[in-house]
Symmetry: C2
Subunit: 600 residues, 2 copies
C-alpha cells in the first residue's frame, strides 16, 4: 500500500503490477487462458481510514491509466480526464481516492496484443486471445485485490468505460456502492458495429498488417488512421462539426482542384489519424472494438432486466442529447431495465452539442452531477436537507403567492401519505416534497422531472430522479410498483391526460392529483360578465401564453374519473389561504383541488 | 432522332454519343480542358409532337444511364430506378419521354478517369481533370442539344443527382419547366465531407492504387470496398439498420471469438463492398465524391438566395425524415432560399425509416408526389379542380356540421380577398380555399401545411405548398411578401400565438384570422350553471382530448391586438348558419369570428 499515496509535487508515475502469474493463468470468457497479466495504473488522492472513499475510473477506447495530472515535469498534456479528476473537481481528489488502470488488451502498460507472448518470445499479435468487457473488469478486480481495496464507493466511466461500469455493477454487486455509466450502452446497435467493422477492415486490409505480426514503425498505419478518422466522425455531432469546421478551407478561399486535403475538416481528420498512429497499437484497436461489439448484457443474462436483477448499488446514468454513437435512447434502455427491477437509479440526458465526446468536453455540467451524486452516495444523510429549494417548474424564482399555493398543496398531500410507503412524484421539481416525505415519513421515493437543473437539484439531494417526459408513458414501471403516485399541479399541462392518468393508475395503488379549478366563481364571473378567458390567482396566465393547455373543473374531473372507471377515494377542495378543505359548493369556491384516486 | 424511340420488346441498349469532338475541347469549371467527351444514355417513352414531355433523370454516385427496364434478355437486374420509371409508374413513360445519361467522370460509358487519355494512349487515371457538378450538367445539356431536345418538362434526381437538378435550374433557367431535387443539398456539410474524405483516403492509401494507374483486376479493391462500406452506413438510417440487422449473427447464436465477419451487418457490408468493387472504378469514386464536396451554390453565386434569383421553373423539393446524410434541414434550406425569392416551390419531408436510400426505396410515396407534380406542370389547368376535397385537418372525414362551419368561414374569407392578389394560407389543408381563390379571383397562392397527405393533395392540385410548422416562424418570408395571410380556425391550437401572429403581420399586408368564440353564450352558460369546461358545436371536444390549447373570445383577441399594436380592420362575428355577420352583442352570440388585421 505504500505506493498508493498522492505524490506531493503533483507529478505521477504510471505504476505496473502483475495480477496474474505465469503459473496460474486467467480464464477468459472465450474459454482461452492468458498469463501472465500485468496492469498499469495510477492513483490520485488519499485512501481514508475507513477505506470507503475509493473510486475506480474506467477508460474508453483510446484512453489509458493516465487519467489526470502529469507524468513528468515536461509532460505537455495532462491525463485524459484531468478536467474531471483533481482537487475540487467533479471527482474531487481531496475527498476521494481515485484509481484508473489501463484495461486488458490495451497498449499502454497492461497486457495486450503488443505484449510478449511467452510461448513465442514475440509480441502476441493475432495470437492474443479475444477478450471481453467482462475480462477487462475481472482484471480490474484483481488489481483492486492486489491493492487491498475492500470495496468501491463508485465506479465511473464513459463510452466503453461505461460498459465496464455496468459490468462491474452486475459482476461484483456487493463490491460497488454507486455506479455512474456515462454515454454508454448495454449493447452496440447495428450502426455502431458497422462503424467498428469498417475500421477493423481498414486495418486488416492494410498491406503492412502482416497478419498482426508487423514490426515497430512498419505497422498498418494507413488502415489504423482510417479507422480513427471514422471513429472521430462518430464522436462528434453533425452540429458540432458544422459549427467547428463548416466548409472552411484550410489555406485558401479557392478550391485546389486536386485530391489533397483542403477542407478544414479533412486536415483535422488527417491530424487525428496521424497522431493516433503515433500513440496507439493497431492490434489493440482490433481487440478493443471487438470487445465492445461483443458486449451484450441482455444476451449474457437472458434479458436486460435479469442482468440487473442482482445489482445492489445506486446508479446515475448520463447521456448527452447530441450523442448519436451511444445514444440517449440507449441510456434510457439501461434506466428502464433498472426501473423495472425497482433499483435506485437516476438519469439525466445532458443538453450538449458535442456529441459522444461530450463526456470529455462537458466537465462542468457533468461534474456537477457526478459530485452531488458521489457526495450523496458517500454521506447520504448530509445531503437531503441542505439543498436550496427550487420547487416545481423550470424557473427558480417564484412569487410568494405561487409558493404559498404550492405549500398548501404539498402540506395537504403530505398528510395523505402513509409512513414507510413508496412514492413516485411526477414532475417532482427540485424534490422538495419527496425529500420532506423521506425525512418525515420514511418513504422510499422516486422523482420524474423534465428540467435538467431540477434533475440536478434532486441528484444533489440524493433522491432517485429520472429525466423523463411522462407523456411518453411509464412502460417500464411494473403494475402497482408504488403505493402512491403524485401528480401535483400538472394534469392541466398534459397533452394526453387520459393516457397518462391510466398509466399512473396502473403503476400506483393510489394516484394523488391536484389542479387549479377552472370553475371557481372568479373564472365564471369573468367569462360571464366580461366575456374573456379567465385570469385568476390560480390561473395567472393570459390565454396566449399559458402553459395550461386544458381547462378543467372539479365537475370535469369527476366525469373524467367516471369515464375511466376510476374510484375517487377523496376529493379535497382548497382555496388559497384556507389550510382546511372547503365544504360548501366546492366547484364554485375551491381555487384548487386534490383528488385521491385508485383503480376500481 | 431515329434512335430515341421506345423499343418494342422492352429491352434497351445503352447508347453512346460524342458530344465534344477532339478538336473543340470542353472548358471545365477548373479552367482545364477536356476532349473528346462521349456520353452514354438511355431513353424511355416517346417524345410527343409538341416536344414538351421530356424529363431528364440525373443519377447519384453509383448510378448510371441504365435507369429503367432491362438491357438484355438475361439482364437479371433492371435499371436502378425501375420502380419509379415505366408505364403507369411515378414517372410515367406512357406520358413522358425520359432520358437518363451517365454523368461526366462516371465509369459506365461516359468519359471519365478510366477512359483513354488521347495524350498518353493510356487510361487517364489521376490525369483526368477535376470535374464539378456544373461540368456534369454542361455535358448533359450538350447531349440534349445533340438529341434536338428544345426544353425539359422536368429534371429529376436524388442525392448527387439532386445537386445536378439544382444546377440545371440555375444554369439553364429557360430550358427547364420543373425541377424535382430529392434528398439533396446545395452544399455538403462538414460531416458529409468528412465521410467522403475518409473514403477517398482509403482508396488513396491502398497499396494497389499506384497513383491511379492501376490495371484491370489489380486495383485498390480493399480501399474502394471500405469507401463503399462507409457510404452504405450513411445511406441507411440507424433505425433502418437496427430493424434490418440488429445484433443478429450470421451463422450461429454464439460468438466466434475471432476477427471474421460474424454479425449480419458485417457480412452485409462485406457483400456491398465486394459487389461494388466488381462494377465500379476507384478513380471515378474519387472524382465524383470530390465534385460533390465542391458543390456549393451559395459560394458560386455569393449567396443561396442570389443563386436561385434567376430560376424560372417550379420546384418540388423532397426530403426523407430519417435521412441523416442529406438531411431534411438541408432541403429546407433550399426551400427557404426559393421562398425568399418568391419562387413557385413545394416541399415535403416524406416520413420514411429508410434513411438516404429512401429515394430509391419509397417509390410509391415518392411517385405519388412526383406524378401529381409532373401532371400539374405539364397540364396546369387540368389539375386544379379535379382533386377530391379533403379540407383542413389530417382526417379526411368531416361531419356535415364541421364542413358547414368551414364552408361559411371560407365563403366569408373569400369575399374579403381582392382579385389578383397574393395569398399565403397557413394550415391550408388540401388547398380547397387556395384553389378556389386561384380559379375565381386569379390570386397567386402558397400554402403551408404539416400533414403529409394534405401536402400531397395540394401538390396534386398544382398549388405551391410547403410542409412546415408555422410555430417555427416564417424567417425566410420577406416583409409584406403577401397581400393576405390567412389563419383559419388555427390560432387556438398554436403554442405561441404572439410569436406566430407577429410573424404573419410581418409577412402579410393583411392577416385574416378566424377562430371559435369561447365566450359564446352556450360556453358561458355551461361554465356558470354546470361548472364544466364548455363543449359546444364550435368547441366540440372534451377538456382531456381537445386539440385547442387556448380558450379565447372576441374580447380576448381584441385585447391581444391592442397589446401587439395591431389594427383591427374588420371584425366579422358569425354563427353556424347565418351567412351574414352578427350585429348585436357579438361576443355573446357569435360562435366564430373572422378578423382582418394589419400592422399599425
Amino acid at each position: 500500500m505504500a505506493e498508493i499515496e498522492k505524490k506531493s509535487d503533483g507529478i505521477l508515475q504510471t505504476m505496473t503490477v502483475r495480477v496474474i502469474e505465469p503459473e496460474k493463468p486467467l480464464e477468459l470468457e472465450s474459454g482461452k487462458k492468458l498469463a501472465p497479466v500485468d496492469v498499469a495504473y495510477e492513483t490520485y488522492g488519499k485512501l481514508n481510514e475507513a477505506g470507503d472513499n475509493v473510486i475506480l475510473i474506467c477508460h474508453a477506447l483510446s484512453g489509458d491509466a493516465h487519467a489526470a495530472s502529469i507524468n513528468s515535469p515536461d509532460d505537455s498534456k495532462p491525463g485524459w480526464w484531468d478536467a474531471m479528476v483533481g482537487p475540487g473537481k467533479g471527482i474531487d481528489t481531496d475527498k476521494y481516492f481515485v484509481i484508473c488502470s489501463n484495461f486488458l488488451g490495451g497498449c499502454s502498460g497492461t497486457t495486450g496484443p503488443s505484449s510478449i507472448n511467452p510461448a513465442s518470445g514475440k509480441p502476441y499479435g493475432l495470437e492474443f486471445p479475444i477478450i471481453t468487457i467482462a475480462d477487462m473488469v475481472k482484471v480490474q478486480k484483481l488489481l483492486l485485490d492486489k491493492l487491498s481495496i475492500k470495496g468501491l464507493l463508485a465506479v465511473i466511466g464513459g463510452s466503453i468505460g461505461g460498459m465496464q461500469v455496468l459490468q462491474w455493477s452486475v459482476a461484483y454487486p456487493d463490491f460497488v456502492k454507486a455506479a455512474i455509466p456515462i454515454a454508454t450502452t448495454t449493447y452496440l446497435g447495428a450502426q455502431s458495429i458497422a462503424f467498428d467493422a469498417v475500421g477493423r477492415n481498414a486495418i486488416l486490409a492494410d498491406s503492412n498488417f502482416a497478419d498482426g505480426q508487423y514490426t515497430e514503425g512498419k505497422g498498418p498505419d494507413g488502415g489504423l488512421a482510417i479507422a480513427r478518422m471514422i471513429g472521430h466522425i462518430t464522436y462528434l455531432s453533425e452540429q458540432g462539426m458544422r459549427e467547428k469546421f463548416g466548409r472552411e478551407l484550410r489555406n485558401s478561399h479557392n478550391y485546389s482542384y486536386d485530391f489533397n486535403s483542403e477542407f478544414a475538416v479533412e486536415t483535422y481528420l488527417d491530424h487525428q489519424g496521424q497522431s493516433f498512429v503515433e500513440r496507439f497499437d493497431a492490434n489493440s484497436y482490433l481487440y478493443i472494438t471487438k470487445a465492445a461489439d461483443y458486449f451484450d448484457m441482455g444476451k449474457d443474462y437472458g434479458s436486460l432486466k435479469k442482468a440487473f436483477a442482482n445489482t445492489s448499488c445506486r446508479f446515475l446514468a448520463i447521456s448527452f442529447t447530441s450523442d448519436w454513437l451511444f445514444t440517449p435512447a440507449q441510456s434510457r434502455t439501461i434506466v428502464d431495465a433498472l426501473v423495472a427491477n425497482n433499483k435506485d437509479v437516476s438519469f439525466c440526458d445532458i443538453s450538449s452539442p458535442y456529441g459522444h465526446d461530450a463526456f470529455l468536453l462537458e466537465p462542468d455540467t457533468l461534474g456537477s452531477f457526478i459530485s452531488g451524486f458521489l457526495d450523496a452516495a458517500h454521506r447520504p444523510e448530509a445531503n437531503k436537507k441542505s439543498s436550496k429549494t427550487i420547487i416545481h417548474g423550470s424557473s427558480p424564482e417564484l412569487d410568494i403567492e405561487q409558493a404559498t399555493r404550492i405549500r398548501i398543496d404539498y402540506e395537504e398531500i403530505e398528510s395523505l401519505i402513509e409512513p414507510n410507503s413508496t412514492v413516485l412524484d411526477i414532475g417532482c421539481g427540485d424534490g422538495q416534497l419527496l425529500a420532506h416525505l423521506t425525512t418525515e415519513k420514511n418513504i422510499k421515493g422516486m422523482g420524474i422531472e423534465l428540467d435538467q437543473d431540477l434533475v440536478r437539484a434532486c441528484v444533489n439531494r440524493g433522491l432517485p430522479i429520472i429525466q423523463h417526459d411522462v407523456e411518453q408513458g411509464l412502460e417500464n414501471y411494473t403494475d402497482k410498483s408504488y403505493d402512491y403516485v403524485i401528480l401535483s399541479q400538472t394534469v392541466q399541462t398534459i397533452k394526453n391526460p387520459e393516457k397518462v392518468f391510466t398509466e399512473l393508475l396502473r403503476v400506483g395503488r393510489k394516484v394523488i392529483v391536484s389542479f387549479p379549478n377552472f370553475a371557481h366563481w372568479r373564472c365564471r364571473v369573468q367569462l360571464l360578465f366580461q366575456g374573456k378567458s379567465p385570469v385568476t390567482r390560480q390561473l395567472p396566465f393570459d390565454w396566449c401564453d399559458s402553459p395550461n393547455i386544458h381547462c378543467l373543473s372539479l365537475k370535469d374531473f369527476d366525469r373524467f374519473c367516471r369515464k375511466l372507471s376510476v374510484k375517487v377515494e377523496k376529493r379535497i377542495p382548497l382555496n388559497k389561504t384556507a389550510f382546511s378543505p372547503i365544504r360548501f359548493a366546492p366547484n364554485l369556491f375551491a381555487e384548487q383541488v386534490i383528488y385521491v384516486t385508485s383503480k376500481k
